[in-house]
Symmetry: C2
Subunit: 206 residues, 2 copies
């Protein structure tokens, strides 16, 4: 960011009065340009015992399999964005009233928050959108685990198949963080089940 969007004056990078963080600021017109994380919203599209995956036609991870997801747009809700991305990338329609928030992921190293919804497909009908090479339904034993595009996809699928055996689907939030050695680690931060250590009991016992 080099120039002010409002007056075209050069931008400076400093801590504004009353703030404690470096911001892009225009000294000429006084505007501060805040930069905030983006939400990426998607679905886990379900048909009978199968999950719909898309093989990516674009970088990063071209050729790898993913769940349909993309940047949430202004003017839409998280779920509407997830449904739109499912239609765009997988040519698939889900039943809005059969969608439930399922996994959230914080990726602070790239300023992103992922939100995935479990979503019932209206019919086993789909086709590859512009950003997909192919789209297909996979039973659990058919999932291409070594060919998945992103950790958030792998974790969401792992949780789903585990939860399905128990018949309960807690809403879970994870943090993804790089360690000093460059390894990406995943931490379960929050779960809606009461048996989670930081859940109901811990709060009500105080």
């Amino acid at each position: 960011m080099k120039y002010c969007q409002h007056c075209a004056a050069p931008i400076t990078h400093h801590v504004p009065p009353g703030d404690d963080k470096l911001r892009y600021c225009c000294i000429s017109c006084g505007v501060v340009f805040y930069q905030n994380p983006n939400n990426i919203v998607g679905t886990l599209p379900l048909w009978q015992d199968k999950v719909l995956l898309c093989r990516r036609a674009i970088e990063p991870m071209r050729g790898k399999w993913t769940l349909p997801a993309g940047f949430m747009e202004n003017g839409e809700t998280t779920l509407h964005g997830a449904i739109r991305e499912t239609l765009e990338e997988a040519g698939a329609t889900v039943i809005p009233s059969d969608c439930s928030l399922y996994t959230l992921f914080n990726l602070p190293y790239i300023n992103q928050v992922y939100l995935f919804f479990r979503a019932a497909l209206r019919a086993p009908e789909f086709h590859a959108g512009e950003e997909s090479l192919e789209v297909a339904l996979f039973a659990e034993e058919e999932i291409p685990w070594s060919e998945l595009a992103f950790p958030v996809v792998r974790i969401t699928l792992e949780q789903y198949f585990t939860d399905r055996r128990r018949g309960i689907f807690p809403v879970r939030m994870f943090d993804l963080q790089y360690s000093g050695t460059g390894l990406l680690s995943t931490f379960l931060v929050s779960s809606s089940t009461a048996d989670f250590s930081n859940g109901t009991e811990a709060l009500t016992k105080k």
Copy 2:
């Protein structure tokens, strides 16, 4: 947005090739400036049977009571942002391992997503930050219902006192929408409890 941040050329507002939405674009250097929703993250700070509220020192809703919350910053997780805002606005420290995701709200008419965490206070210690006039603990019967700043605060408090009686705290997502007559309506879109109509049963029956 009038000028390009990168080259200071005038910005146009049109649908770029391969897109279907109006974007701010620079014809000179070719950059597209996407605008996306912001996350507002906060806590429901709990001490014994009481909830911590802040009386706002700033507009909008100066003088009204709210839960500590603010814009999520780059480089932090949703929970870290919520904990930071609680410290900044209420001078209060929560126990990170005793925090659980609780309510989400989509406000598409102002391009915002709210996320609140149930959060156990480390001690009954707090003080008004720069954006608060006062901070206080309230038992259920003491909540100033007619003096709350925002619907997201009222709904989160209502859910909490209802859930506390049952001892379970589902993660719920709501949409807030303005109707044609200008009335703000709230819709429950998703809940982590299995007894919700669009939850577990509906998905596994297919």
